[in-house]
Amino acid sequence: MKLPRVGSSRSNDVSRLASRVDAEQTHADGECIVAEGSLGQEMFIVADGRVRIAKSSSAGSVTLGYVERGDFFGEMSLLESVPRAASAFAVGETRVVVIDPGTLLLKVRRDPTLALEMLKKLSTRLRVANARLVDVISQTERQEPTVPVWEPFDDQQSSHAD
């Protein structure tokens, strides 16, 4: 395989390099792809198969959800360099594309629709998380009506305090 010339001004050299940096992994059914708490900065796109996301709790391992083909996981560690918030397990034989911080920009330059898909997915996840938070707050308030879980921000009080 001939590598593109580094530093070349040819516009398509970058795209060639980007297309070559797509690393892949294949995992057997039940195999752990990433473990909760581990350090790692890669994001994964499910190219084939399915992935189960699980988090440990006092009651044991809890399944948070499934990542389907074409969807991604591990983006928090890639974007924020934080330990894995949950574990990911292959469901059936699963092939994933691995994207690390060093190749993300090249990947997006070559395949810009990936960035839009990521933004849309993150927006959806945030909306779902907000809805769940509201549910939890409502349940907590029903159980303990005399103790407010959160105080609404008061503009007037804030300005007086200043």
């Binding site: 395989m1 001939k2 516009s11 796109i45 395949d111 810009p112 629709t113 898909e117």
Partner: protein, 251 residues
């Protein structure tokens, strides 16, 4: 913005270039729309449906009104229409935040039965367009009069690009082995979980099995041609529309 859609039966056409005085699309679409209605297909116009760059007002008015009537009839029979933005109608991106966003998309991720299909115009993978969209746009406007001499000029451009890449492959300057940047881009997109990638833009209808799995299909054009992509029953076929009916084109 809607990019994730689900359709059992979808026909994809592209590059109608309505408003371009040399577009034959409005003459041929009538019987095609009847075929779609009879066979319960929904429709995706995959970019360059309207030609803002090379339009003439009288052509745009006449052709667009004819086609809008056809599309209204199609919708009256329950057909759904998706419009993916291309480079000749890129100004439509400015209305993506309006009520038209229900119908307009930069690309579609289609679930059809067991298939996951990416539908995209594909101009952003054209190296010339990517290098300088403004120059590309300026040259497209300047090339308008050339259509008078040879209306299939887009296919000539596409063939020239392809020849340049073939020469590069022979010289050994590239190791990807694809015949075009569009095929290379399609392979990259397919690799992240798509069974098929459908582009337009090049005006060159083709169906290519990709090395890493998946298939790349180009829907060709309706400026002078009449090819389309039929997605149904877990298959993606490239077909040519004739007044007597569709014919499947070989890969």
């Amino acid at each position: 913005m809607r990019i994730d859609v689900e359709e059992k039966r979808l026909a994809v056409v592209s590059d109608l270039h309505l408003g371009n005085p040399y577009s034959l699309a409005s003459h041929k679409l009538s019987s095609f729309v009847d075929y779609l209605i009879e066979n319960r297909f929904n429709l995706c116009i995959n970019g360059d449906g309207v030609d803002i760059l090379q339009a003439r007002l009288n052509a745009l008015t006449q052709q667009a009104l004819e086609v809008l009537d056809l599309l209204r009839k199609f919708q009256a029979y329950g057909g759904r229409i998706y419009y993916v933005i291309g480079n000749h109608d890129i100004t439509l991106e400015r209305v993506l935040h309006t009520w038209l966003a229900e119908y307009l998309a930069p690309f579609l991720n289609l679930q059809s039965g067991r298939l996951r299909v990416r539908i995209e115009h594909g101009h952003i993978y054209d190296q010339f367009y990517a290098a300088s969209p403004r120059v590309y746009e300026g040259l497209s406007i300047a090339a308008g009069p050339l259509l008078r001499i040879y209306p299939d000029i887009y296919r000539v451009w596409s063939a020239t690009t392809r020849s340049r890449i073939k020469v590069r492959n022979v010289i050994g300057d590239t190791s990807e082995g694809y015949d075009s940047p569009e095929q290379e881009a399609a392979a990259m997109i397919a690799n992240r979980g798509f069974d098929a990638v459908v582009f337009g833009h090049t005006h060159r209808p083709e169906r290519v099995e990709l090395d890493g799995g998946g298939v790349y299909v180009n829907s060709g054009n309706w400026l002078r041609g009449s090819t389309f992509v039929e997605i149904a029953d877990d298959s993606v076929a490239l077909r040519q529309w004739n007044p007597s009916g569709p014919v499947t084109l070989p890969s």
